[in-house]
């Protein structure tokens, strides 16, 4: 690869000059200093680098892809502000104080950068701070945090962008074969960005001082100290394509393997994107689902497993922005924009904050649109109506709350819990007024009489972060705690069983109403009101057991192939041994063989030891004082997404033949000992 890339870099230099114009279009330039006469930008031929923008053109103040796209799209609209700027860009936070992220989160990221660039307090952490992955929902200031920290800590960011425009330009303007794929370019970008230090430092100069509020003040990086660089990946190659993904993994691995004393840290910004769909149910349950078809990118598809578990990767997860922080930030923004006479009332601000779900970008957008509407038509309905009309955003329900809604089974007229806030009580009362009482049932059905439920199943279905299969698993794992007697359990268990068996064999025959049936069935069967005994919601044990079962199945297969092999040596056909017969009937023999005193057999004659996964089964009588309800508790921050990924991870682990809890930990600790060199003297990790 190395000779090839050096060839290409020379081509690139030529091309860089030819493609000066194109770099304007996509706003990416590698430090175009006016003073610098030799414009050698080997990278701009391939990529867009998030470098200093010329501060004179306001339209290029943003290098960020998504926002840029919005900008281009919105600019012609006459409805926008006089200068056509979006508030999101106008009032981009300039300092940590303006950032609506929790201070500790920023501190975490800052520490990482410190360690990555200078090596932390002991100066030895640098080699382990290679990749930082910032994850979290969209609009939680992940990229802004990086930008602000880059100013504060004085490093420059090289950003990769997928730009299709270049492909075309290249094929026209150079003699190089146009079949150079996006990925090759990406690879070249990464290689160069992490290696060609000298090129960058020489071409990096101080740019003009344009610290107007419209553009972020340029990072004044003196040439001497500008060798702190990071690579920022916000756009990625199409890693959903399995080939591209494995290529991507290879590139990342090879980057990590290089023993550069001062590596360039890579920061990957990854917004969560969800998957929904019933088609996954069957595969999930049968345990044989490939990740390939699922259209979601997360850290586990992004990075190979070994890298992810290795010491080089750190993940910092951004949470949705807390309403208080969000409100403060929005208020500050309004104050800056309107001064004291803001047309946005406090009430409207509340609605915006409520509906934004912690997405600050969407909140600011909503505010801006609201202010435009107000300017054109000051008396356009109530604030509620107005804001709701512009912030129609799918509100997703956190899994924790979804399950809470179902399990607490609130019905009309339920007394509020003692801890409820006055606001919530009022909300409930308002809801109760709107709820219609169901008609009285005839006497023979009187046992099915219930008060109207406060839970709207259609709404929770629309907002559910998980599909019906996972939903049913969560219900299954937890329903017993919320029932007071067996009859209620019976109702729910029967519904679970019924919903699971409804529909046909193929994926397209799956009953589309499973979620509704399960939710309604559960609500109907649970007692009203559910006694509050500080129940805790647990994650399903299902997957863990599924994995154990798969392991045992492997054991059965091993034994079966052993039997068949023994037979084929003697010329007998023994494939009549069914797995079932092996699992249920062979136990006695296997145990007898397992006795160490039995005569020693040659290794080929010995029954494979993996039979123990299925042959021995010890009954432990449940002790009444320890009632296990589940292994892992669900917390408020968890979303279904994360968990279903957990299942995949387990599956992957199983592929790698490390599956069981205990075994797993052993592997980890051993591996860790190997990875962390003792001389490192790590203070914190």
């Amino acid at each position: 690869m190395a000779p090839k890339s050096s060839q290409k870099s020379s081509v690139a230099v030529q091309k860089a000059e030819k493609s000066k114009t194109t770099s304007q279009i996509t706003t990416l330039k590698l430090q175009p200093s006016t003073a610098n006469t030799k414009r050698i930008n080997p990278l701009t031929a391939f990529v867009n680098l998030s470098q200093e923008r010329p501060s004179s053109t306001p339209s290029s103040t943003k290098a960020k892809g998504k926002q840029k796209a919005k900008q281009v799209e919105k600019q012609p609209s006459p409805n926008l502000e006089e200068n056509g700027q979006l508030w999101v860009d106008l009032y981009e936070p300039q300092s940590e104080g303006e950032l609506a992220v929790h201070v500790r989160k920023v501190e975490n990221v800052r520490n990482w950068f410190r360690e990555a660039l200078e090596g932390g307090p002991s100066g030895k952490l640098r080699k382990y701070r290679r990749i930082l992955v910032l994850t979290g929902p969209a609009g939680t200031a992940k990229s802004s945090t990086i930008r602000i920290l880059s100013k504060e800590l004085n490093f420059e960011t090289l950003e990769w962008r997928n730009s299709m425009g270049y492909l075309y330009q290249d094929s026209l303007s150079t003699s190089r074969a146009p079949d150079d794929t996006m990925f090759t370019k990406f690879q070249l970008f990464l290689e160069r960005a992490s290696k060609c230090q000298s090129v960058f430092t020489s071409s990096t100069t101080i740019s003009g001082n344009g610290s107007s509020p419209l553009s972020p003040p340029p990072r004044s990086t003196p040439t001497s100290s500008s060798n702190h660089r990071i690579i920022l990946l916000e756009e990625l190659p199409n890693i959903l394509h399995s080939n591209t993904r494995s290529q991507f993994h290879d590139v990342i691995r090879s980057l990590l393997e290089t023993n550069d004393p001062s590596p360039v840290p890579i920061v990957i910004v990854l917004s969560d994107s969800g998957i929904r769909g019933e088609a996954g149910d069957e595969r999930l349950a049968s345990g044989s689902w490939g990740r390939d078809q699922d259209g979601a990118v997360d850290i586990r598809t992004l990075l190979p497993k070994d890298v992810l578990q290795g010491p080089y990767v750190h993940e910092i997860r951004f949470n949705p922005i807390a309403p208080t922080l969000l409100k403060k930030a929005l208020q500050a923004l309004l104050n800056r924009h309107f001064g004291s006479k803001s047309p946005i009332t406090g009430q409207m601000l509340d609605v915006v904050v409520d509906s934004a779900n912690g997405d600050i970008r969407s909140a600011i957008m909503a505010l801006q649109f609201a202010s435009i509407r107000l300017k054109k038509n000051p008396k356009g309905g109530g604030p509620q109506v107005l804001v709701e009309s512009i912030t129609r955003r799918e509100q997703s329900l956190v899994l924790f709350h979804l399950l809470g809604k179902v399990f607490y089974n609130k019905r009309k007229g339920d007394p509020p819990p003692p801890s409820a806030l006055a606001k919530d009580i009022k909300k409930d009362q308002e809801l109760d007024r709107r709820l219609e009482d169901p008609p009285e049932l005839p006497p023979h059905l009187s046992e099915h009489n219930r008060k109207a439920s406060r839970v709207d199943v259609n709404t929770i279905y629309a907002d559910s972060p998980i599909d019906s299969s996972l939903f049913s698993l969560y219900i299954h794992q937890n329903y017993t705690q919320f029932c007071t007697n067996v009859d209620e359990c019976d109702g729910i268990a029967d519904w679970l069983s019924w919903a699971d068996s409804s529909g046909g064999e193929a994926w397209h025959q799956i009953n589309p109403y499973r979620f509704h049936l399960m939710a309604l069935g559960t609500l109907h069967s649970l007692p009203t009101p559910v006694p509050r005994l500080s129940q805790k919601v647990y994650k399903p044990d299902f997957f863990e057991n599924l994995n154990k079962e798969k392991e045992a199945r492997e054991g059965v297969r091993d034994v079966r192939s052993w039997i068949i092999e023994q037979g084929s040596d003697s010329g007998w056909d023994l494939s009549a041994w069914t797995p079932k017969a092996i699992a249920t009937e062979l136990g006695g023999i296997l145990r007898a063989q397992d006795v160490p005193s039995s005569k020693t057999l040659s290794p080929t004659q010995r029954i494979p030891l993996s039979h123990r996964t299925f042959s021995s089964l010890k009954f432990i009588h449940p002790r009444t004082e320890i009632r296990t309800l589940g292994r892992e508790q669900l917390s408020e921050g968890d979303d279904g997404e994360l968990y279903s990924d957990g299942a995949t991870v387990l599956e992957e682990q199983q592929d790698m033949e490390l599956w069981q809890g205990g075994k797993d930990e052993d592997m980890f600790s051993k591996a860790e000992v190997e990875w962390w060199k003792e001389s490192d003297d790590i203070v914190d990790s």
Binding site: S288, D487, S497, D573, T578, G587, L617, L629
Partner: protein, 356 residues
């Protein structure tokens, strides 16, 4: 060292110990030159597979005993690779669809097509067709069965199919109607006694008849289980003297204890405990149907006459659902909860009308 079950398995139709009429019939079928598709069915351990192998030998001679094990790779529709071991001779091939899991249709189709499209080239072969033996035919998915149905007609000229199943109820009617059905019933105690004595003679020791009777009583007509049990017993105490206790398999004792759990307490917390036990059983590859059956049998023994029928009724209901659904544990648990509820209501003498 093969197991005794395999070591002393009869190799030809003449060697079979019981069901002599069936053996004669098979012999005449094999020599008639008009061999049909066949479906052998009967309880496990009754000797279905032994009879199939013997029939094959009758058909093709000792050539069928020259076996080779191939590892074949199939591609599932989603480009997943399936590695499957296939046992075959020059004259026949065996498939165990459960190895292919969800993709049995692909495997069946590929294999059958391949066999059907190749002519028998061995001029010395006794028959012009090859035989495909499908073990556990009742675990074939609907898709696979439908695929089979067409192939059975189309390639009749150079292929015969022998299916082996525990019960015909899970096979679709078109397949049943295309096959000659052969029922292999479980051997009676006398026949089993004879076989056990035969095995012990071949293995070179004397089997006291009372030990054999004990084993036979315990095995419930499953000859394989009986012989395995005998071998295990012989391994544990080589002289077969003293008081011999025939240990039940772990999972069976486990199931019985689960049944005891169900009967002894009926509460939501107990449901959780039983669930853990079920998970444990499932993760030891005990088929859910077997679990349900064993536990239900035991529960029925322990409960009052009045609700026995209901317990079994619901076991049947949830067994059907289990087949249709995908998450076995739901149905096992739903049955447990139903039984608990029934039991509790019976206990408190409450009215059960309208309780469905």
């Amino acid at each position: 060292m093969s197991l005794w079950v395999d070591l002393y398995r009869p190799r030809s139709l003449e060697d079979l110990h019981y069901h002599n009429e069936l053996s004669n019939r098979l012999k005449s079928l094999a020599s008639s030159g008009d061999f049909p598709h066949m479906l052998f069915y009967g309880p496990s351990g009754a000797g279905k597979k032994t009879r199939i192998t013997c029939t094959l030998k009758q058909l093709f001679g000792s050539g069928v005993e020259k076996l080779k094990i191939d590892q074949r790779i199939f591609l599932s529709p989603s480009k997943r690779k399936l590695e499957i071991n296939i046992v075959q001779s020059n004259f026949h091939i065996e498939i165990t669809p459960s190895e292919a899991g969800n993709y049995d249709r692909v495997v069946i189709q590929e294999l059958l097509k391949e066999i059907a499209q190749t002519q028998q080239v061995d001029l010395n072969a006794k028959q012009r067709f090859k035989v495909v033996v499908i073990n556990e035919a009742d675990s074939l998915s609907r898709d696979a069965q439908a695929a089979l149905r067409r192939t059975m007609e189309k390639y009749m000229s150079n292929m015969r199919i022998i299916l082996c199943a525990n019960s015909t109820s899970r096979l679709i009617a078109p397949i049943k109607s295309r096959c000659l059905l052969m029922r292999v019933a479980a051997p009676d105690a006398e026949a089993m006694q004879a076989v056990m004595q035969h095995v012990s003679k071949r293995a070179g020791f004397d089997l006291p008849p009372d030990v054999a009777t004990k084993i036979i009583n315990d095995s419930g007509g499953n000859l394989r289980k009986a012989i395995l049990c005998l071998e295990a017993l012989k391994m544990q105490s080589p002289d077969l003297s003293g008081t011999l206790t025939i240990a039940k398999p772990d999972w069976e004792t486990y199931c019985h204890k689960v049944a005891d759990l169900i009967v002894s307490e009926q509460s939501p917390a107990r449901v959780m405990e039983v669930r853990q036990k079920f998970y444990e059983l499932l993760s030891h590859c005990i088929p859910p149907t077997v679990i349900l059956k064993t536990v239900a049998d035991r529960v029925v023994e322990r409960v009052d006459e009045a609700i026995k029928a209901d317990v079994m009724h619901w076991a049947a209901v949830y067994e059907v659902r289990m087949r249709m659904g995908s998450k076995k544990i739901y149905h096992l648990e739903a049955w447990v909860v139903k039984v608990m509820s029934l039991y509790k209501h019976f206990f408190y003498g409450m009215d059960l009308t309208g309780f469905d």
